[in-house]
Symmetry: C2
Subunit: 214 residues, 2 copies
Amino acid sequence: MDISVLHNSILFKDFDDTEISELLKALNAAEKKYNKGAMIFSSGEITDKLCFVTAGGVTIESNDMWGNRTILNLVGKGQFFAESYALLPDVPMLVDVCAAEDCSIVFLSMKSLADLNDTIRARLLANLLTITTRKNLHLSSRSFHTAPRQVRGRIMAYLNTVSVQKHSREFDIPFDRQQLADYLNVERSVLSNELSKMQRDGLIRCRKNHFEII
Amino acid sequence: MDISVLHNSILFKDFDDTEISELLKALNAAEKKYNKGAMIFSSGEITDKLCFVTAGGVTIESNDMWGNRTILNLVGKGQFFAESYALLPDVPMLVDVCAAEDCSIVFLSMKSLADLNDTIRARLLANLLTITTRKNLHLSSRSFHTAPRQVRGRIMAYLNTVSVQKHSREFDIPFDRQQLADYLNVERSVLSNELSKMQRDGLIRCRKNHFEII
DNA sequence: CCCAAAATGTTGTAATTACAACATACTTTC
DNA sequence: GAAAGTATGTTGTAATTACAACATTTTGGG
């Protein structure tokens, strides 16, 4: 198992190597590999596993009964997912989780939290709280980015956020066109078209996933 | 201050009256009243206050520069909001918070968490984790409900979730038409129109906020 | 009970988006 | 470096939605 990524994760912030090893044992840590496109969780499943990406990345998606896909989130190396479902183990998942590329996932049992002593538990809970809170902000951001009714508004809302986060008018985005379209909940071709128009209108410059706001 | 609502809140679950009183003091609890429509937080503000609704209700909204409003969440009596911003105090809010009706809000300082002893702190953190996790699911749900591209799809996704939650094909929803339209990110008139069509098509029956799925 | 105000429903037209089909550009592999 | 595969850009048409304007219903005082 690739321990080093876990050691640098938010979950084990302020824990030393010995403590981490003990915690991994206490939480029944197990690693599993997936090929690109593989489904890790399906809508309706129930789990108590907190999931950590040690390599590659996954997408959190909503796939409706008419075949429309919406990417709700991208989760990359060093990040967690399914924490809501792990911590509320009676709630069935509303989303699918797929391997965006070949990836490795470590599963940690949240049932086992109760067995830890109070001090360790408090430290772990504080870190878990940071994880869920940040995830919360990601979800809020997506609501914010898909709130504008028109495609141009959504693109600008999104690019503006990335620009603010990176403290620069010039930046790379972590999506290709199809993924960005799915994230913003618009048609890929409509997105391409609108990006062209926005360049013609002198609002932005872009080439592949590199953007500049003018 | 209306203590009884706080005593029944998730945050103070498993705390007795004495402990709660001490905690309220330690967290600098302060109550404030707002009239319907009043703005409680504006986009861009920074806060470390965990907010609790003791009476009435508030809406979490995204208001874009073209005047479009999107209701991201309704927060009612006995519920919390702004916990993400309170727990990550360097992050500016991306949303507005408005009084949906006359309401009272209790503000709790999250900076003061660090001053608590470990045992109390662990118990409080566990409860906070439940709050953020549930809030997380609400946000996920909204992504899910607005994922379908078409109005009918969004309505059905939403009604289906409510129906599952209430274990019944017949139920009340907590939105009026304008609020449901804002929540689903569609035009109010388009929503009314589509609901009429769905009744004509024999999919649902509805009258005001009472719905029946057929 | 009546009135005024608010909420909801209906309709038509203009604007936008979805979708398909195809063109072009870029990548990878042999 | 050619071929195949993938990603991105463009265009036109059909379908959907936005918006405004108005009709109808419901609600809450007086």
